[in-house]
Symmetry: none
Subunit: 553 residues, 2 copies
């Protein structure tokens, strides 16, 4: 295995292994195969795939992975040093690693004397022998072995000489990389730097790695400190997945190293970095986890600007309020429309949503849109999470939106008949659609749910595409506090179909009315994006919908 | 204003101001008052409350805050240097700051020549004069002025001498603190340290501050680097709230500085740090934001251990897998498999609310309370913003709560009769109280409002003290996202009387039911704290309330 040059770093991803330890994250074999390809495409050098022998899913993953070919990355299997009393060849952990047929192995050994005595219950010298012999066996069997010195920094603080001797034992065994782990995640950058200096002095010829956890909120900084002190092999996970507070987040480490400090991986330079945001979102998607909006570099808010002054300055020169260009990590600038927004924000937003073309040359229409948005914001509407409602406002102002249906009225009744039981909710909706009246009813486990059911029931016969649409999330908040239950509420609804997600908003003193507005916008946006014209309102195919049953939920 | 000693830090919180810039976070005046008290209780030295004159909500906040007294913290108003061409006394920003009547002001000025020329469009020398004169005027008017050198580190990188001259101008004007801002959040620890060294050399007598943003994922590390290089005034927000990727997170900075590096604030040492987790949760609750489970120190997963080896090692010696003791920041260890979580947390809460005395010596009762709370939390209840509901749970478990009334049933009807009109809401409530049935109706501008009116109408004849009680704030949040309008919602209600405010909570798939629960708890808490006994349920003074009119709102 070639060693990295001084200006290169080696990128080691453990999203599949350590990342899978996150609370409430559980990757399937398919997820792992998908992620391994994406990580390879991003350009990482090593992918730690799992612990074969420790759980059946990891066995299945390595088996399936043998049939795939990665472009560049090496797929590594993770395990521990062998048990006291075993020979390497008969040790179940080591043979599990060999049997998985990976491109190499990573094994961890104890570098903190406390753990050797308390955890393993063996002598310090025996631990050194276990490390050396385990590494030597795997090196002989697999050709590539990385050694994770578990709890290295705590061990070094407690008993420096012993921690260094553990590294020497792994080096004696032939380890390709000596990885210094801050397993408990509590290290500080200065401590990390000083310990790395000591290791380099004692083991000058070795390629060192760094593996940090984020319990002190410093995993990215600790990783950079290690690189500054000569470490070239960098471990982490995408989005900082990992148990407790997570591992060092490669989505922050990589842009700092590549864009700010001038390093690059063998296959991961500025060009590949443009895939970072997409890869990060994929990880969250497969982990079934909401992306963190404020995540550095790749978050949806990372390049979002509020308020007039910022926005006009960013337009003159992006450096004024952006530390890097969003495109460099595959992210985008967003101009938030909020109550502080001036004309320039709204115009920029129009541009971003591709709506400015429709208004081109029509200054009066732009002015009308700006006025309408500001008026709505004053009433408590907020379009930050509701791009779809924003687009509908624009299209309504310029007369470019069909009226798919017209509300005649609705009623929602919640009745709690016994103290111990939840109330029942029932809604009726009367609409004009397709030249007729549709009068439907629905029940639900709450008033908004019931209203949603009744509304869709009235429309789905006319617009069958509404069947493929779902409500994804639903948020309510009080806009102007101080009036108790008199206050206006803002409802934000996120909807989705198989192609995209969209947000809509409604505001009213009445939570039912606000929800109704957001529901109507959600449905209208779906119909508009599918290119529906408004002929149905004037009279068209009808019958099946009108008066549809009360019996459905 | 006294300066911090060398081993002390000064803690400056801008959750109310910069934190309010977070996408989708918007604090009400009541939220801000509540948070200011919590921050004061935590022991911060300065609270930056908002920008008076820039928006009416901040004006209202400072006005309301003048009637409250903080224990220790100074409440500061934020603004900019005056505009070119104005005199200080006629400048609207500066007079807005003075008029707000804060304990001092923070003003920002441009420290990056690019911004002076591009943003302000004035000469570099004129900018220095604006800084000096603005600071001098506020110093004379308010006595305490902090100067935020905006974009200091970018300015220093671009044109070191000018950035330093801006600081000198502020010092000449009499600024009490010179705060170095990494406004774009892209700095690296080594750069921050080197720039701080240069400032200390040029301005040796000044007290320096640090204000970082987290765009590079390094805000905590950059703050610690500044302190390591001699800065003693530390700015940040709780939970790292703030625009884009947020501000430096005080919930990570404070434990690192206090527990690991041996610093302390004037009123914020190891003892106060035990309030950190509760304060962090309160901020998220008021920001209507889901707490981040993997947040360092205060996250729910921060001390969570998944089964097996870790757990038994942690039990033998917590240092093996924990960098600090969870109790030191008011967090708790969670063992994920055995679900042993929470007990000490709940006991701590009982102690905090003065309820432990009532349970003294009764281990069975404590165990019952713990079980009940855990069960409710599992259903989605959260007691961080609902101390009153927590107390009622405890009193119900130990049989120390009168039953003031009993619900027979309620109905709430929302009817929208015309597309252009808001729906009307009407509620009926039937209760047993004072040995009779009270059946009342109320209307409102929304279903919860109508229900609130009907409920009080039924009770106020029996319990006239309810007249002096008001609903102050009302928040709704979806507990388990992913189910659209099917998801359960949590309603948090804040109520007040002339003596205190209290929070109550309700959870249900139905927003009306969840609101009803929180309303009932709010009323019950009021009656219990006024020492009402339950004789009314058994039969007492009645008539006037039963069947009271439909005509009132």
């Amino acid at each position: 295995m070639t060693n990295p040059t001084d200006s290169n770093i080696e990128v080691f991803d453990t999203t599949l292994r350590d990342g899978g330890q996150s609370e409430a994250v559980s990757f399937s074999v398919e997820d792992k195969l998908h992620l391994a390809e994406a990580l390879d495409h991003l350009g990482v050098d090593f992918i730690e795939g799992g612990w074969p022998g420790a759980n059946p899913r990891d066995d299945a993953f390595f088996e399936a992975a043998r049939e795939r070919t990665l472009r560049h990355a090496r797929l590594l299997a993770f395990g521990s040093t062998m048990r006291s009393g075993n020979t390497p060849a008969q040790d179940p952990v080591l043979s599990g690693l060999v049997a998985a047929g990976p491109d190499g192995a990573v094994i961890f050994g104890k570098a903190w004397d406390l753990h050797v005595e308390l955890g393993l219950g063996i002598g310090l010298e025996e631990n050194l022998a276990l490390v050396r012999d385990s590494v030597a066996y795997l090196k002989e069997q697999l050709g590539v072995v990385l050694f994770d010195a578990e709890h290295f920094f705590d061990g070094y603080a407690n008993h420096p000489d012993y921690a260094l001797r553990v590294l020497e034992a792994a080096a004696d065994g032939g380890a390709d990389r000596l990885v210094l782990c801050d397993t408990n995640g509590g290290g500080l950058p200065a401590q990390i730097g000083a310990a790395v200096d000591a290791v380099r002095e004692r083991l000058p010829g070795e390629v060192l790695g760094i593996h940090c956890h984020n319990d002190g909120g410093l995993a990215v900084a600790n990783t950079l400190a290690a690189v500054e002190h000569g470490v070239r092999h960098v471990q982490g996970t995408l989005n900082g997945l990992g148990e407790r507070c997570g591992n060092a987040d490669l989505t922050a480490i990589l842009p700092n190293l590549i864009l700010k400090l001038g390093y690059r991986g063998a296959q991961l330079g500025p060009e590949e970095l443009e895939r970072l945001t997409a890869t990060s979102r994929l990880v969250d998607e497969l982990a079934n986890r909401s992306p963190r909006n404020n995540q550095p570099f790749v978050g949806q808010s990372a390049f979002a600007h509020k308020g007039g002054v910022h926005v006009s300055a960013v337009r003159k020169d992006a450096r004024t309020y952006e530390h890097i260009a969003p495109e460099a990590v595959g992210n985008v600038r967003r101009i938030l429309v909020s109550d502080q927004s001036g004309r320039s924000n709204i115009v920029h937003k129009l541009q971003e949503l591709g709506l400015l073309d429709r208004l081109e040359g029509n200054d009066a229409a732009v002015a009308q849109v700006v006025e309408r948005i500001k008026d709505l914001e004053h009433q408590g509407y907020q379009f930050e999470g509701a791009d779809a409602s924003f687009e509908l406002v624009v299209r309504r102002v310029i007369g470019d939106l069909p009226e798919y249906f017209r509300l005649v009225g609705f009623r929602v009744l919640d009745a709690k008949r016994h103290a111990g039981e939840a109330p029942e909710s029932e809604a009726t909706v009367m609409l004009e659609v397709g030249g007729e009246r549709a009068h439907t009813a629905g029940t639900g486990n709450g008033p908004v749910n019931a209203l949603d059911h009744a509304l869709r029931k009235a429309l789905v016969g006319f617009y069958p595409e509404l069947r493929e649409m779902d409500l994804v999330d639903f948020k309510v908040r009080v806009v102007s506090a101080g009036g108790g239950t008199d206050a206006a509420v803002r409802v934000l609804i996120e909807s989705g179909d198989p192609h995209e997600h969209w947000g809509t908003v409604g505001v009213s003193a009445n939570v039912i009315e606000a929800s109704y507005q957001a529901l109507v916008d959600a449905v209208t946006y779906k119909l508009a994006k599918n290119g529906r014209s408004d002929h149905l309102l004037a009279g068209g195919v009808v019958e099946q919908a009108s008066g549809s049953g009360l019996d459905e939920g």
